[in-house]
Amino acid sequence: MREETRREAVWQFLAYAFILLGAVLTLVPLYWIFVASTLDEQEFLSTTEPRLIPGDSFLQNFESLQARGNVQFVGHPGEMTQYVDFGFGYVYYDVWHLWDLGALESSIFVAVVYTLLSLVLCSMAGFAFAKYEFRFKKPMFYAILATLILPIQLLVIPLFLLMSQIGLTNSYWAIILPWAANPLGIFLMRQNMRSIPDALLESARMDGATEFQLYYKIALPTMKSSLAALAIILFLFQWNLFLFPLVILEQGKYTIPVAINQLVGAQRVYYDQIMVAATLSIIPIVVLFLVLQKQFVSGILAGSVKE
């Protein structure tokens, strides 16, 4: 029995060691990005030995990033032009101009809208694939899966054409809608929803639930963890989209990857500003993760059926 306690301790130690090692290896490049963001560009470039102590130029780099003419990274208060004159003073009311979006806010906005929309579409489709029988189910599933492979590099041209035909160029919808039915998300939901016991759905049917109610009253709540994972996937997918936003969006609407790429000049790469932008752009994701990972509650289906 002491033997076992010892073995348990070894297991735990190994697990911790593994996690810590992983965390450190993961953090090194990220940390370096952060360090680079705090260094003067010359310092960053001229060090031959890797430099691991942060400098103090973060704010300065941030300011030079913000001072760029062609990209706005973080937005700023907008000029509200709509107001009511009460005689004794004005009240501004144009909420859309409360804040002029920078790339950071654009990205957040687009990713949030996209994530919400796509969560709905993907979970519905995944539910259909996991829990219903219908004709052409398999071929349809495989067809959707196959589109996962389509390289965006080739789709850009016809997609651009399509968007301009329907008047969506330079619109956030143009980068939200095409992948709203994300094959990846459909696939994930389908895989996870297979673990919902059929008996659960049956008992809800007996209770008079419509098929749609099965979906949002039974399937969604019991798939909380998977939805959280999917939300992360979708958010990141949109967060990292580059080529199509670059092509379809015009200056002023750029998302983060596009904006950062503008710092890669023909002859000059603004490393300091890139690193500042990259560092800042990680913050929303940290927040997102910390919020969503709480949804990973284990044994969510426990107690439902005897088997």
Binding site: Q251, V258, N261, V264, R268
Partner: protein, 430 residues
């Protein structure tokens, strides 16, 4: 509903002549066919900034409204090509590198400006070497902007410390010999293994070489190409060359610290060096690139852009865009403004007479480098960029790397490269 072209009567071909407008000459817009009010021009980096300088004078004189959109170079290309290929969303005019010109022209997405060009009569004012890739079947698709006359920049302090006098160097072989005076941890120049084609093209052009013959056969295994390959091989073998990826941070660092002592590049490089390595100001000098063989030509080019108008924009917009282009690129004083402010080296020959080129350059320790480049510019041999330029780039890089590793002799390398290009592009060998 019906089929047919609703705009039949106003296609671009008729645009210039039909309206009888001479507003496109760049001097007046008061008459002639209607021009759109607003134009948007895409450019990258300093080029875009330099266009900005001309906006105010243009608007003052010609009216209209000009927006310059600054987009990163690679991004601009992706974005612009997408708009070209999908037939919508393109700007009124955009910057186009000469290297890309042939293939872009070939897409059919660019507007023929030859009528306007001939009408304006400014064609001959540009260095003749620029036109090749901008033309196809007798039509012209872009207006030249800048050229990149090549010079070899060097660290004066490093060279003199080791007793090297670049101004006396005439040929590459000489230069290599001089370079051997440098200690082991210092290199005369950088020969990046990811970018052999750049150096090869520069030297090949210097010799007047053409990648394809006039009837389209692959010519990169010509004697001239072989000469260049041998030189490059000699540089590598002699140990005077560093191998750092171009534009990488290490690459810049090496120049800053003097571990790489010289750099052969377009005239625009001075601006870049100034921006990146400001604290080495005054320690630099420049001389004409060494000749391949004694007495050989020492004029060549690296880089250079043009402005082009997509076909998809309306005629009114195109006319305005042309008007703007002709104004900014075709007029001496504006080109000079750009040169003085951002070091954009004009392709407009008439500018070379200006004493702007005679100013001593502080970064280059007071050297009057402008004049040197201005002398080189008109002598640059033309070079036939085609849609298959990328294939050439690829092939040269691949096989020269093999050659450098000793896997192939120079002869084998150029032959293999030529064969690869021929295979991939369906062309004959010259």
């Amino acid at each position: 509903a019906g089929t047919g072209d609703p705009n039949d009567d106003s296609t671009q071909q008729n645009g210039g002549g039909g309206g009888g407008g001479n507003g496109t000459s760049g001097s007046s817009t008061t008459e002639g066919p209607a021009m759109a009010d607003a134009v948007e021009v895409w450019g990258w980096d300093v080029a875009a900034k330099s266009l900005d300088l001309i906006n105010d004078p243009y608007v003052e004189e010609h009216g209209g409204e000009v927006t310059i959109t600054q987009i990163g170079r690679a991004d601009l290309k992706d974005k612009f090509k997408s708009t070209l290929l999908s037939g919508s969303g393109a700007p009124s005019a955009a910057m186009m590198e000469s290297v890309d010109a042939a293939s872009w022209v070939d897409t059919g997405g660019l507007r023929d400006i030859s009528d306007w060009l001939s009408e304006s009569g400014i064609k001959d004012e540009f260095v003749s070497g620029k036109w090749g890739p901008l033309e196809k079947d007798g039509n012209t698709y872009a207006l030249p902007w800048d050229v990149g006359p090549v010079g070899t920049f060097y660290r004066r302090d490093v060279m003199s410390e080791h007793d090297i006098d670049p101004s006396s160097v005439e040929t590459w072989d000489q230069y290599i010999e001089e370079g051997k005076k440098l200690p082991d941890d210092q290199y005369l120049l950088n020969l990046p293994s990811n970018d052999y084609d750049g150096l090869w093209r520069m030297m090949f052009r210097q010799l007047g070489g053409q990648p394809f013959t006039e009837n389209g056969a692959v010519n990169i295994n010509s004697e001239k190409s072989l000469q260049v390959a041998r030189i490059l091989k000699r540089i590598r073998d002699s140990g005077v060359a560093n191998d750092l990826a171009s534009w990488s941070s290490g690459w810049f660092t090496a120049f800053g610290e003097g571990t790489t002592a010289s750099l052969t590049a377009g005239a625009w490089m001075e601006g870049t060096l100034k921006a990146e390595l400001g604290d080495t100001s005054g320690k630099w000098g420049v001389f004409k690139p060494p000749a391949i063989e004694s007495g050989g030509p020492r004029a060549t080019n690296w880089g250079g852009s043009n402005l082009t108008i997509p076909t998809q924009v309306s005629d009114e917009t195109a006319r305005r865009a042309w008007d703007y282009m002709a104004y900014t690129l075709g007029q001496k004083e504006h080109q000079l403004t750009m040169y003085e402010e951002y070091g954009i080296f004009p392709a407009l020959k008439s500018t070379y007479e200006s004493d702007a080129f005679d100013q001593p350059n502080e970064f280059l320790d007071g050297q009057e480098a402008g004049r040197m480049f201005a002398d080189i510019a008109p002598e640059i041999p033309p070079y036939r960029y085609t849609i298959d330029t990328p294939a050439v780039t690829k092939a040269v890089n691949t096989h020269f790397r093999d050659m450098m590793n000793g896997g192939k002799s120079p002869k084998e390398a150029v032959d293999a490269a030529a064969q690869q290009v021929a295979d991939r592009t369906d062309r004959d060998l010259a």
